[in-house]
Amino acid sequence: MDRYSIACATLFGLGCTLAASSHAQEVVNPDQWSPPREAKISPVTQDQLNTADKNTTNFLLTNGNYAQTRFYPAKQINRDNVKNLHVAWIFQTQVKESLETSPIVVDGVMYVTTSFSHVYAIDAKTGEQLWHYSHKMGPVTTYCCGPNNRGVQVLGDKVYLATLDAKLLALNAKTGDVVWNTDIADPELGYSETMAPTVVKDKVLIGTNGGEYGIRGFVRAYDAKTGKLVWNFDTIPENTVGVWATKDATGRDMHRDIQAEKDQLAKIGDPYKRLGGGVWQNPAVDLATNRIYFVVGNPSPDLDGAPRPGDNLYTDSLVSLDLDTGKFVCHFQYIAHDVWDLDAASPPVLVDVKDKSGKTIPGVIHAGKTGHIYVHDRKDCSLIRFSEAMVPQENMWTLPTKEGARMLPGANGGVEWSPIATDPGQDLAYAINLHQPMHYRVENSPYPNGKLWLGGAFTAIPGEKQSGNITAVNYNTGKIKWQVKTPEPMIGGILATAGGLVFAGEGNGKFAAYNSSTGKELWSFRAGAGVNAPPSSYMVGGKQYIVVGAGGNTQVNFRRGNNIIAFTLD
């Protein structure tokens, strides 16, 4: 319970319920049938988090571990027995809207979030509710792509949550009570939060959304005990001009009119104050070097380059910082001066990779909206190679026009925010992709005071078929190993396990397991609503479970639901 509700309760009793601000999906009559119970977990130590990649009981970080491999090391569920996988329980949240949560599991307690920043603690064995945190949303929220939330992280006895109205909260992991509450930024200027925080060494790392609203993006570290700001890194430096790159990371000409941009720069100066550069997803943490790696999203406005001459650093880039100080280490920009919103959103993954000479070195890989998987040297962020395109590419890079220019991939990708999974034993990265033919249009308007600033529109072309795929890419060769086509574009995420499997869901409600070496489908289930969330796995009572949210998706408009579904073997 936060400060306001306590004041309400004592001063006015029932009156407060009536006065609560009304949000579309607000839970008016929350938990009368489920009195809160204590979530009996022991405090999560930094040591446990450091070794999460070897933990076959818990699922402690949004992408499994600090390297973000989404490779779960248990193999009770495997290629031979996955056909017997069945529902263990279904938990229904009170919020029927887009579900993008990565379930976190600690000592048999599961923490999931829903749209509008609700948190539920659930008994991971039975699916019973333990407690529910219903966030009192401020009246002003500005976000693109749905009122999503992608989850929490636990450190010590606290659960960390970032909310749609741009606040950072620490909750008591046992009870769901608010421990501290910090304003991250002003939602009236276009800031909002949908990502799960990454908590490491007493720092809560968080980015921001707002690239559609002319914000100035950042990644920040807050003190995990107090909520005080430790450091701030502006993803948009004061000099954003860069090197006037004419080609993208793959060497294709982007048709920039460099002279016109230089003239514009002389006229209006560096556009850094409103240049966007949101950070949608979690940073990877390299514990050995004490560095973090994350990707920065699109420049504002999305499709109109006129108000923002230059390369627009560090939009559409991989960036590395020092964890303790937030000081810049290195970057690599995929698309300079992006006018297609084909930005970088899917979280980077740390794995060992082969460099150009065939030597094994620490690498970092990212799956782009362009449909390529990019492989970098962790030392200096430089690009080693990029994979074959996982989706059709046509007319790249045609500039957006007034009438609409057709180009593939469409502005959602390729790979959207969806995290990829890897299986380091097989040198494979698994990505889910969208294929949506689109028209790119440009319009010009001045900065609108924190309002939607798209600089045009990308529209799906009626009559042109959309689809999706799951693609396994060998990141040491860049070659596609296998690909499974799906009838609809894919958004959500994927999990690989030591059982030789990958799990992924589709917008039509199908959730399936595939042989991670061949892509052969081995098991499937129909959830009844879009399965557009990253799956997790855990063990409780000696049994392995797979769990995933089935709540559909706002951005691609897949059928909404409110289910968290856990599967196990007999």
């Binding site: 006015f12 009536l18 009304s22 009246p139 002003v140 609409g404 600033w453 045009g456 408009n557």
Partner: protein
């Protein structure tokens, strides 16, 4: 106590509760909203079809519109003078006040099938529900469209296109990317939801 209340009103948190405990303070808001009924309706049904429904609209959206009229970001001869004396706290409280009222049923008919099909195909192309949400109920600063007056929807969509409504260039871009016939179908479809 009073200072406490004022700070809470200013946070826009407990306006409804206030009516019963602090009539003197509440009255000033009640007075401020009296004039609204003249056009937006005593029962939430606007007096004229080109006037929008504001009862049950999203609080964040109402607040931002009042703010924009006041700043001159949204231009309208009727609304601008009405809000000129409002402060941020008034606007937040007024927004909460109307957001809590029930959305009125204007009795607009469901659109015929061919209109709905056209509207949904345009919706699919742009992805209106990505922001206005699945049932077009809106959220935060994104307005509810379901059941809004068809004439008003058509007018404000046209105003976005011509930039006569210039307070959201993002919406202008999306409307300009959609054909007038598709937009007419959308207005009819949304009104009938």
């Amino acid at each position: 106590m009073v200072r406490n209340l004022i700070s809470m009103i200013s946070r826009g948190i407990i306006f409804g509760a206030l009516l019963s405990v602090a009539p003197a303070l509440a009255q000033s808001i009640a007075e401020k909203v009296e004039v609204c009924a003249g056009c937006h309706g005593q029962d939430g049904k606007p007096k004229d079809k080109t006037i929008p429904v504001i009862w049950g609209q999203q609080a964040g959206y109402i607040y931002i519109q009042l703010r924009d009229y006041k700043r001159g970001d949204r231009k309208n001869e009727t609304m601008q003078p009405i809000v000129s004396s409002f402060e941020k706290d008034d606007m937040r409280a007024i927004a909460e006040y109307f957001a809590k009222k029930p959305w009125p049923n204007l009795g607009q008919p469901r659109s015929p099938k061919h209109v709905a099909q056209r509207a949904l195909s345009a919706e699919h192309s742009v992805g209106c529900t990505g922001c206005h949400l699945e049932q077009f109920q809106g959220d935060g600063t994104t307005p509810r469209l379901a059941g809004q007056s068809q004439e008003y929807l058509a007018k404000t969509i046209a105003d976005f296109r011509t930039r006569a409504r210039g307070n959201n260039p993002g919406m202008t871009d999306l409307m300009r990317a959609t054909s007038p016939d598709d937009l007419a179908a959308l207005a009819e479809y949304l009104a009938g939801l």
